[in-house]
Symmetry: C2
Subunit: 144 residues, 2 copies
Amino acid sequence: MNAEELLSQAKESCKKRGARFTLAREQVFKLLTRHSGAVGAYDLLDELKLIDPAAKPATIYRALDFLNKQGFVHKIESLNSFVMCHHFSECNHPVQLLICDTCGHVEEIQSSNLDLALRSMADATGFTISHQIVEAHGACQTCS
Amino acid sequence: MNAEELLSQAKESCKKRGARFTLAREQVFKLLTRHSGAVGAYDLLDELKLIDPAAKPATIYRALDFLNKQGFVHKIESLNSFVMCHHFSECNHPVQLLICDTCGHVEEIQSSNLDLALRSMADATGFTISHQIVEAHGACQTCS
DNA sequence: CGAGTAATGTTATAAAGTAAACGCTGAAAA
DNA sequence: TTTTCAGCGTTTACTTTATAACATTACTCG
Ligand SMILES: [Zn+2]
Ligand SMILES: [Zn+2]
Ligand SMILES: [Zn+2]
Ligand SMILES: [Zn+2]
């Protein structure tokens, strides 16, 4: 899935939902598609400042908040950073990430077994899951 | 597992490994055992200041770092906070947490299915896991 | 004891994230 | 067409979380 495809898919998705894909949001979206790994909000801000020198932390955080709510972007809690989702057409999918600590690449996986195992364990203790965080750190194939 | 049992177990464990369970570390350990849920480093610092007014951020972070490395305490990445582990005798176990967003209680679960599902998915893509983060947010039984 | 290492104290600062007040704008209602 | 108003963006200031750097003290072991 390349950058343009993702962008048009995002626009389409917003149109359907009546959400506004404004310039600021599109700019941040595009910046994110240029990274294959995690990007910090302030790194992103530095990049955004090159095309919009007036950008401030709130600019980035608001855009990221929107993109995250639309499911276009995932937050990586263990790195305080963000990564583009390449499967956002599959709404509300559980997020499962393999994060290479060597090269920084982030791979999003989809294991229903994993999701099931977590849900069944939660069920067993009467816990209702609203949001799950699964992040594995280590070394990717090329870095091993 | 009550507070005293945990404490003596921790002391024992340090003795075996030749790690120093110093006063500062013990104080922070004790403060943590008094919480059933997540505690922020600065909240903990406020509590510590009551018995050691000279305590500074570094004091807490160093103690937490030690306790975390010994496996006595887990960091909750999605809350930037910390929780006592009640199973630290089982060394290096994968950490899987159910976090109630209503009452703040944190339940540590042990699902080998979950661990297996993650590992097998990682294997399939040639990824070697060194550390995993599994945190589910939602509502516990009493809060549902 | 004395050298070497581990831990702590202290100060300062970096990094990440949020709040609140206010102005702009563009599309729906009148 | 004009009004109006909710959503978006800007700006300023601030809070929370975490670490760096370096001096000092405490413990361990030969
Ligand atoms: Zn995704
Ligand atoms: Zn890699
Ligand atoms: Zn544990
Ligand atoms: Zn609860």
